[in-house]
Symmetry: C2
Subunit: 347 residues, 2 copies
């Protein structure tokens, strides 16, 4: 298996990417090559400073960088040789089986959509953010690949999330919920009400509508929503988790007795921080494109990059795209036979 | 000033409501009467057990209760004499200046919309949830009064939130943001893109699009979104805050040294818990209806009820509905003169 890694677009430069890739290679013997894409001289230097080496790392030069401030489509048009585009082309040409990238999320979605296209039967890709809950993780998708989704797109997200949870996260029968404003079948906006009707016909454990209250402690494995809602929820929760850790720190340092207590219990705080640390997961798969694409946080550290590579390898190993194509085809066929409106009208 | 209090629809029965009302009366000498609505004998008993008394409390009998399981509109039709409906009628008839209720949120919105109607110029009411941030609070609205909002509704939420933040929360010039998936003007779904164009014409400090990342530590005072998004974000964040406190507790009790540390620093945890405790605020105003309506959490305790009464009194004292009617009329007029499409098409 060959993985392309865009090394340049993240907030912390290429050193953390190179370090993370080397950590992943130590763990995963069946990776043939990692094609690390970016500025040749910077990458050479980063490899020199990494403190370890691996002959499976190969540098592919790309002279440009799509920055966080670049507009996705326009930026890709202007910077045809940015590391993201060059890495995506490796997947497109079959020179790599998958790509990981900590670049501009919009840029990754645009590059994948333009260069790889969506899988047969899938209209729109979805970002599957993996989030912590009481006793494991759940997937929230779409976490922002597109906005203004249609019911059919949400149905596809349910199918793709179910497959990813089974194959990559190892959940035997994922519990899939549709994010809404009440648990009854008739609750929600027009989009979710129609999506509810499509999802309940699927061959998966669809438990119906779920609310924001259910996310972090209700044993859900897959939570489906449109990209606008998913993006806002994900970022709001990240913001709250960060703020709560800050508030806790401020409280724990307000006075000598509290400080002493905090010192004694410091492992507890470290464990809590670790629990909500996005670097634990490392990346969110972009599901529904014709290739295996993992979007890393812009602020991903080496550990995040390593974890992203591990999940990416799982996705390739389990052929999840083949499973997605089969399941989506079946659902689309059912839809076509039962729909009162032509399916195309919803696409 | 006379306040109607629906005492029956909350999760904890009428005792906590009665206790909270008595606490509020101790603080607020200019409340003439609180008309506490519910089962006469239960209320009499609760008043007897309250440990204090106040002659300004008056019992209004209502034999029925709208439960959390009742469907709002259908429930109100079936239970015409439920405590919520009777309390709302007191406001409708002018026998009370405001109402607080811990009943079924959908029921409160429906009863207020049906009995009080919206303010002139306002198409839809919005729930203004007051949430904690680094150094104060922000308002998130609409937190779920309606779904499938239109751009014009979001504009009204911005106006109403600005007025509430100024008059009740005491913010001199509230920073108002529109919740979206990126900060650039062109980011968002169709709804927010159109709402952006309307909001930037308003006579308030509209800072443009904000993201989920900005909510808890970016000095925002008012965050505007449609009711579906607001409800999901609010409940997701409540769920995460609860889970994080649970995770922290579990970590702090895992081993004797951590336990000792936790005991020494217990005031810090209490302060953090207090910071994210919805009872601090007590209630969310339903803005845009022709009356002053405060929605309490179903699980509101006595302190929440007391705080809800205090905020309700502020809202009445500051005549916020008059301010809303004036500001909305001005904005609607501007819209009518600048709109290329007839305004009515968006209502």
């Amino acid at each position: 298996m060959r993985i392309a890694a865009d090394a340049m677009g993240g907030d912390h430069g290429c050193q953390v990417v190179v370090d993370g890739l080397l950590q992943a290679l130590e763990q995963l013997s069946h990776i043939e090559n990692i094609l690390v894409v970016g500025d040749k001289s910077q990458l050479g230097q980063a490899l020199g400073q990494a403190g370890k080496s691996d002959s499976r790392i190969e540098i592919i030069h790309a002279p440009e960088i799509l920055t966080m401030d670049d507009k996705p489509v326009e930026g890709l048009r202007r910077k045809k040789n940015c590391s993201l585009a060059v890495a995506m082309d490796l997947v497109k040409r079959g020179d790599a089986d998958a790509i990981i990238s900590p670049s501009n999320t919009g840029g990754i979605v645009a590059a994948a959509s333009i260069k790889l296209r969506t899988l047969p039967g899938v209209d729109r890709p979805g970002i599957a953010a993996v989030c912590p809950r009481n006793d494991g993780n759940f997937i929230l998708l779409d976490a922002g690949a597109s906005v203004d989704g249609k019911p059919r797109h949400l149905m596809h997200y349910a199918i793709m999330g179910d497959i990813y949870a089974r194959e990559v996260l190892g959940v035997s029968r994922p519990r899939v919920g549709l994010l809404s404003v009440g648990t009854e079948a008739n609750k929600g906006d027009e989009l979710t009400q129609e999506a509810f009707n499509l999802c309940r016909e699927l061959d998966l454990d669809f438990i119906g509508n779920v609310e924001g209250h259910d996310l972090f402690h209700n044993g859900l494995d897959v939570v489906v929503c449109n990209g606008f809602v998913g993006n806002v929820v994900l970022k709001s929760c990240e913001s709250l988790a960060t703020s709560m850790m800050d508030w806790l720190k401020a409280e724990l340092t307000a006075g000598p007795v509290r400080k002493l207590g905090a010192t004694l219990a410091k492992d507890a705080f470290r464990a809590l921080k670790n629990r909500v640390d996005p670097d634990n997961i490392g990346g969110a798969p972009l599901l529904g494109v014709n290739g295996t694409v993992t979007i890393c946080h812009g602020s991903a550290g080496a550990r995040a990059i390593r974890n992203a590579v591990c999940n990416t390898v799982e996705a390739v190993d389990h052929n999840i795209n083949e499973l997605i194509v089969d399941a989506v085809a079946k659902a689309n066929d059912n839809l076509a036979t039962t729909a009162t409106e032509p399916v195309a009208a919803e696409a």
